[in-house]
């Protein structure tokens, strides 16, 4: 596939990766000053994945970040001040101090589903988002991320299988950062490539160098296009390395020094800077300007967060407020198809299975599945892909 990014877009990828890293450096500093509430999970070395994958999406698409995907949030329009106030549990943070880290979301314009700490659960949820969008007639896809560790959960497998059988427009980015907390990938999964997980479910997969932002972007764009076209979910394994511990408290002394050095030499930002320079896409002066602009933005937003109040619990009932939706939200799906298609008489179907493969090994014919007319169309497209 041709790379179709303009020079401005390529510089924007740099901006987001640099912003991602510089913002986390500030968070690190704030943590040393005891200003962070809860854990702090670094994405150092993984910025190309967060940024490159989210950059491939259209404005109406949905994402659900994992805890190391601050870069994806920035691409989707989150401001650094929101990330700072969230991690500092301030009253004006996106969750008003009720949750921490990247556990934030926005059902409105930005279409971000908040993660929970339990790994894998976003996969069935984002499958549902993808199916919901499809039912409403929207041409939107859902993207979420998982780690090498999280790919061993039951929710991962139930979710990916269900997405596959429903041909859900879902893109799953599996960030293989080599470590699940302190356990190396070889002790978690007896596979060299975690992309092979997808084969068990008939899901298309790709393997990409996670430290090459353009490669990640291209893979994600291709996957998004395929999902949007109705050809079902795609799993992208991005090979990378978690350059810090599991969270800030963890010095990660269990990581062999040589392994760290190996990956340090492949730092995604330094590498992209070299590529931009070699391609004559920017001047040293332009780079300095972008970097300076980021530092100015972060100075202002850290100051904003530091000046933001902590939430209080003084008002009666304050702690329990918001446990339930008591009329505070109006739920109005955005239909982009005529609703009468989903109501009788148009919705009436012959409620019988069409079974074309009787399942025996003898007389095996080219793959056909238990199907119904709508799915048959997708199946055909899938078969065409092999």
């Amino acid at each position: 596939m041709e790379l179709t990014l303009t020079r401005e877009q390529q510089l924007e990828l740099y901006y987001f990766m640099r912003l991602n890293r510089a913002l986390e450096e500030r968070l690190d500093r704030l943590a040393r000053q005891n200003q962070i509430v809860g854990g702090l999970f670094s994405s150092l070395g993984q910025e190309a994945i967060s940024v490159g994958s989210a950059y491939a999406l259209e404005p109406g698409d949905w994402i659900a970040p994992m805890v190391r995907n601050i870069g994806s949030l920035l691409v989707r329009g989150y401001k650094p001040r929101e990330i700072f106030t969230q991690n500092m549990a301030r009253a004006n943070s996106p969750t008003h101090g009720r949750d921490n880290a990247s556990h934030l979301g926005d059902l409105g314009a930005r279409h971000v589903v908040s993660p929970i700490s339990m790994l894998g659960d976003l996969i069935p949820v984002m499958t549902g988002v993808a199916l919901g969008a499809r039912l409403l007639g929207q041409k939107r896809i859902a993207m979420t991320w998982i780690g090498d560790g999280g790919s061993s959960t039951g929710a991962f497998h139930e979710g990916l299988n269900f997405a596959a059988v429903q041909h859900a427009p879902l893109v799953l980015v599996l960030e293989n950062n080599q470590w699940a907390y302190s356990t190396p990938v070889a002790r978690q999964v007896p596979l060299r490539d975690l992309a092979d997980r997808a084969r068990a479910y008939g899901v298309t997969s790709a393997i990409v160098d996670g430290n090459d932002v353009l490669a990640v972007y291209r893979a994600a764009k291709q996957a998004a296009d395929q999902a949007r076209a109705g050809h079902g979910p795609v799993l992208i394994e991005a090979k990378t390395m978690r350059m810090r511990g599991h969270a800030q408290h963890d010095p990660a002394e269990y990581v062999p020094k040589k392994m760290k050095e190996y990956w340090k030499a492949r730092d995604p930002i330094a590498r992209y800077e070299r590529a931009l320079t070699a391609g004559k896409l920017w001047s040293a002066c332009e780079k300095r300007e972008i970097d300076a602009r980021i530092e100015r933005e972060l100075d202002a937003d850290v100051a904003f967060a530091e000046a933001s109040p902590m939430p209080g619990a003084k008002e009666a009932g304050e702690i329990e407020r918001g446990v339930y939706c008591e009329g505070c939200h109006e739920i109005a799906p955005q239909w982009q198809r005529p609703k009468d298609e989903l109501l009788p008489p148009k919705s009436v179907v012959d409620a019988r299975w069409t079974v074309t493969d009787f399942g025996a090994l003898e007389e095996r014919v080219p793959v056909k599945r238990v199907t119904h007319s709508k799915a048959a169309k997708f199946s055909k497209a899938r078969r065409a892909r092999g």
Binding site: L107, P124, L136, F162, H329, V348, A351
Partner: protein, 324 residues
């Protein structure tokens, strides 16, 4: 007009809500072509098509997770558990994802997870349980346990229209045993409101689901002995209608709580705590509970009969309390 069973009332609620709101969709195992293990979704695939009635793999986590995700796009999914015992498989999606969503980040989760619970049909330890209290202990969820056909229909409609995750525990013993005339017009029964099913002055019996019927049978027997029991049907366990319980206890001064769920951590303990805190001075006797013992639901008919409370065991406890 033919009377409507509890099961048919549920089917009608789903049908009518789907007819009036295309954003209502169904997910579950064997709910489409087959029409559900008990037939609660019979005919709905034929009427509403493959996109709104989705047969799923045997993946409760995927079913509930996908329902949550669909609800974020503005749909109102209703997920079926083939048996409510299997809700343990998706405990995480319900307690950590759905229940905390609105509180954490202001995202409502208008889903219903419904299915058959309860014993009395010799279905053994994995097809007879009453797992409602795991969820009554989870802020952010609502828990509904209808006892009548009228309520099964009206409460399910309210559950579907509610903006919060609602767990709807149907009682399989009642599916085909309870019948009544239902109004032809659309109606809904509000969540969180108990019903006084029988008025009385001597003691209050609080119950729900199948045990309501055993309690009413006991109350009828007691009336023959001159003991007038007031019988309250909780209908919704979360939120709990404290006012109706307290008003009755203030009148009768005695409280018996009956449930089919096991004893420790059952709703009886919570009700006892509320009544002790709010109406201690009104009590003229100990708060008594008649419940299943702290054991899994056994399979053999004789064992299950010993496990379940019944009209006789309720009447015995009530008689004892009334004379206290």
């Amino acid at each position: 007009m033919a009377q409507t069973t509890y099961l048919e009332a549920i089917r009608q609620a789903l049908d009518e809500e789907m007819a009036h709101d295309p954003s209502v969709v169904l997910l579950g195992e064997d709910i489409g072509v087959y029409g559900g293990a008990f037939g609660a979704t019979q005919g709905l695939l034929a009427r509403y098509g493959w996109q709104r009635v989705v047969d799923t793999p045997i993946s409760e986590t995927a079913i509930v997770g996908a329902a949550i995700g669909m609800s974020y796009t503005g749909l109102r999914p209703v997920a079926e558990m083939q048996f409510m015992d299997f809700i343990a498989c998706c405990f995480e999606q319900l307690t950590n994802f759905a229940a905390k969503s609105h509180y954490r980040w202001g995202a409502p989760v208008p889903i219903v997870v419904r299915g058959p619970s309860g014993g009395g049909v010799h279905a053994g330890p994995f097809h007879s349980a009453n797992p409602e209290m795991y969820f009554v202990h989870t802020p952010g969820l609502k828990v509904v346990c209808p006892a009548t056909a009228y309520d099964a229909k009206g409460l399910l409609k309210s559950a579907i229209r509610d903006n919060n995750p609602v767990l709807f525990f149907e009682h399989k013993f009642l599916y085909r045993r309870i019948k009544e005339d239902l109004p032809p017009d659309d109606y809904a029964v509000p969540l969180g409101k108990a019903a006084v099913r029988r008025e009385g002055r001597d003691l209050t019996i609080v119950s729900y689901a199948a045990m309501l019927h055993a309690s009413l049978e006991a109350a009828a027997a007691l009336a023959g002995e001159g003991i007038e029991a007031e019988v309250i049907d909780l209908r919704t366990l979360l939120p709990l209608d404290r006012e109706t319980i307290l008003a009755s206890v203030r009148k009768t001064n005695k409280l018996l709580v009956v449930h089919e769920d096991t004893r420790t951590g059952g709703i009886a303990g919570e009700i006892a705590a509320i009544v002790c805190a709010e109406a201690f001075d009104d009590l003229d006797g100990p708060i008594v509970r008649v419940t299943a013992p702290d054991a899994p639901v056994p399979s053999a008919p004789a064992l299950e009969e010993g496990f379940l409370p019944n009209a006789a065991s309720i009447a015995d406890a009530a008689r004892h309390l009334a004379q206290a």
